[in-house]
């Protein structure tokens, strides 16, 4: 079976500075891969390049989603194709209520996929159901997107968007940053509910802690812009114990 997501020798730079030095990664349907690595190793860059952030220039390689190269697609087309990035720092959009935003995003994606748009009551019903599961106060849906949200609320809102948009590949960028343990559990539960045989995930994190709650099938160590080691979930524990020092040197 072909992997759902294939990253082949991906190279990218920003403002002329090379960050990704040939990333290779295959993720099968239903698999959860963790990418761990020291700060500044290029983990977040990988997530931005996958999602199509305009600041980055891809200088080589391919990214195939279900066999189709997504690198030529604009960010919104990639989203419609099923790629979702949970931001480390979700953006605030003043004046646009969360509900309006969710409706706009959901219907924009459906339109691009040639699916009928959903009615407002139908969207409201879906949002309410998912919000309830994540313990999100309906009041929050009337507030502007992420404006004045606490760190925990922002990550919950990201998870709510992810549940609602039903992506095929989820990229979680440092989802644990800025969360206390209770908030982390709520978010992890939300993510785990989304695990399914048809959906794959890339969980990017600096710490092993998150992986206690979102247990990965495969763990990769990322350093200096590429994957330097791959193993099972026990690799995360090893990293927790020994740190990244040996990989930083290995890669150097």
């Amino acid at each position: 079976m072909t992997p759902l997501l294939q990253i082949k020798n991906l190279q990218a730079e920003i403002a002329g500075k090379k960050i990704l030095h040939g990333v290779n990664l295959d993720i099968g349907k239903g698999e959860v891969h963790a990418i761990m690595g020291p700060n500044g190793s290029g983990k977040s860059t990988l997530s931005y390049v996958l999602a199509g952030k305009p600041d980055y220039d891809v200088t080589g390689g391919e990214v195939l989603l279900d066999g189709a190269n997504i690198l030529d697609m604009a960010a919104d087309e990639r989203a419609a194709a099923g790629l979702f990035l949970a931001f480390q720092y979700p953006l605030e959009i003043p004046g646009v209520t969360t509900m309006t935003f969710l409706r706009a995003a959901l219907n924009a994606q459906r339109k691009k996929r040639g699916e009928p748009e959903l009615s407002s009551p139908e969207i409201l019903r879906r949002v309410r159901t998912e919000a309830e599961k994540l313990g999100i106060d309906p009041e929050m849906l009337r507030r502007p997107v992420n404006v004045g949200f606490s760190g925990g609320e922002k990550k919950r809102a990201e998870t709510l968007q992810m549940s609602l948009l039903e992506p095929r590949v989820c990229v979680l960028d440092e989802t644990d940053s800025g969360l206390d343990i209770d908030a982390l559990k709520v978010v992890a539960d939300g993510v785990n509910r989304l695990r399914s045989p048809d959906r794959s995930m890339i969980v990017i994190t600096h710490y092993q802690r998150l992986l206690d709650y979102i247990v990965p099938d495969v763990v990769h160590v990322f350093s200096k812009g590429h994957i330097v080691r791959t193993g099972g979930k026990e690799l995360a524990l090893e990293l927790e114990a020994n740190g990244y020092a040996e990989y930083v040197e290995e890669a150097a």
Binding site: P54, D76, L91, I93, G95, V96, A105, A108, L165
Partner: protein, 493 residues
């Protein structure tokens, strides 16, 4: 930078085709001879069958105007206007009997249909909601220099509300008009207002009697159709003690290569405990991408809170005109009176906007609020200019002002010029202004959720202006939102 680059590209591609109301109605019209003179002023007055005092009032204004200079302090730039090269009066030839739409030139009816303005009264029983569930709106349609039709007059009359063309009001209620006309914007006020006083041809007159809440929204729809014709309408709205009225105004014009002058005057009078809400969606033709053509919109709008607890709110959505020069203002004369100004001004192409408000606090415990959102794109210049002043006797005056500007692209300008003058200690004024751009990060975030770059920009801009949109009457807000999207289509994304 891709998303913004795309936006900039869109701005460069801005095309007159974006202006959806640019068509021309081919009808025969009756015009006064070109140019301006005492004879023209007399001609207009005679056409309107005005009382003698009105002619005198006009002539006095005209004579004064001859000695006035065009103001030059605004941040707008245009070649000198040849005031002798304009028509000051133009009316469709077949003059309709008022209230009988059957007699209106079918071409004109088609025009309004095309513009989406309902001139056919809905067949309904008394009540606020029409047969199709939409709220009823009474419309006065002004076509070039004359009012074509005013709807719902009878129903309004039952409530005691007078809503008619000002030319008709001058004949039917001369004393009422005489009492208030020029009492807020005197005929000596400024160059354009004085010109208007001399040559205004039509406009709306509203009187809401004591204690009456006007049973429906009133609206005037202004259409400039003729070539080389100036439009000088005059609107006068009086809310007597304890009365309430909400009034909407819309404007469009055909695409033409030459600039056309629009110099209107709007006067609002709110007596004790009265409230007037005045909303404008201004969509005059803005000119083409190179700044050719478009309306010069030089407008004087002022409201007088003449009584205690009176309230006047201006809401404006400005997307059209080559040049906008307007400062809808409130004179807060009555104790505890309040004034509000909510504005969205979008400029693109070569448009120039110099707009804002004046809040003059004279009475005790008067309050005012200003929310202004300026969006500049293309090669436009967008200036907020405002005055907030508290007189020495205006103890307890309060103002809150917020002016935000958004720049889209690298060839536009956004400027903020507020004057804040406090002349007593119990005044509390707060003013804040910011200028920023739509962040790349924000656009990327929206696009990652599936919105196209145009949709993302529209969403963010609508969020930026949401405080003001909320102030518009519901149906108008929907229209305004659409209009913003349309102007964004060409200019922002």
């Amino acid at each position: 930078m891709a998303a913004v680059q795309e936006t900039v590209d869109h701005v460069r591609r801005i095309d007159v085709e974006q202006y959806k109301y640019g068509f021309e109605t081919k009808i025969e019209s009756e015009k006064a001879p070109k140019g301006l003179s005492e004879d023209i002023v007399r001609y207009i007055s005679a056409k309107k069958e005005e009382p003698e005092w009105m002619l005198e009032w006009r002539l006095e204004a005209y004579r004064r105007w001859l000695n006035m200079r065009e103001p030059n302090w605004a941040r707008v730039d245009y070649p000198p206007i040849d005031y002798q090269d304009l028509y000051y009066y133009s009316a469709p030839k077949k003059r309709p009997t008022l209230n009988s739409l059957d007699e209106v030139d079918p071409e004109i009816l088609k025009t309004y249909e095309k513009l989406g303005i309902p001139l056919q009264e809905q067949e309904v029983l008394a009540g606020v909601v029409g047969a199709d569930g939409r709220p009823k709106v009474a419309v006065d349609a002004v076509f070039d220099s004359v009012s074509i039709a005013t709807t719902y007059k009878e129903e309004l009359a039952k409530a005691g509300v007078i809503f008619m063309p000002i030319s008709e009001a001058l004949r039917e209620y001369p004393d009422l008009v005489r009492k208030y006309l020029g009492s807020v914007v005197p005929s000596t006020d400024n160059f354009f207002a004085t010109l208007n006083s001399a040559v205004f041809s039509d406009g709306s007159f509203v009187y809401v009697p004591e204690g009456v809440r006007c049973p429906m929204e009133l609206s005037t729809y202004f259409r400039i159709n003729e070539e080389k014709t100036g439009q000088f309408e005059r609107t006068l709205i009086i809310a007597d003690k304890g009365a309430y009225v909400s009034y909407l105004e819309g404007c469009t014009a055909p695409k033409r290569d030459e600039n056309q002058l629009h110099a209107a005057v709007v006067e609002l009078v709110a007596l004790d405990d009265a409230e007037i809400k005045y909303s404008t969606v201004q969509n005059w033709y803005p000119g083409d991408a190179d700044g050719k053509g478009g309306i010069y919109n030089f407008v004087t709008k002022r409201g007088d809170c003449r009584g205690a607890n009176a309230k006047i709110a201006w809401t404006q959505v400005e997307t059209g005109s080559a040049i906008t020069w307007k400062y809808p203002s409130c004179i807060l004369r009555g104790d505890n009176s309040s004034g509000e100004f909510y504005s969205i001004a979008i400029s693109s192409g070569r448009q120039q906007v110099d707009s804002g408000t004046k809040m003059i606090h004279l009475g005790k415990n008067t309050t005012s609020r200003i929310i202004s959102k300026g969006i500049s794109a293309g090669r436009s210049e967008n200036t907020y200019r405002g005055l907030v002043s508290a007189h020495q006797k205006a103890t307890g005056a309060r103002n809150f002002t917020n002016c935000d500007s958004l720049l889209i692209g690298e060839e536009c300008g956004a400027h903020t010029v507020p004057y804040i003058e406090a002349r007593n200690a119990s005044t509390q004024f707060e003013h804040e202004a910011t200028t920023s751009k739509i962040s790349e990060e924000m656009l990327f975030y929206c696009m990652q959720r599936g919105l196209s770059s145009e949709e993302a920009v529209a969403l963010v801009v609508n969020g930026f202006v949401s405080d003001v949109l909320q102030q518009l009457p519901m149906e108008f807000a929907v229209e305004a939102q659409k209009l913003i999207s349309i102007s964004l289509e060409g200019s922002v994304g």
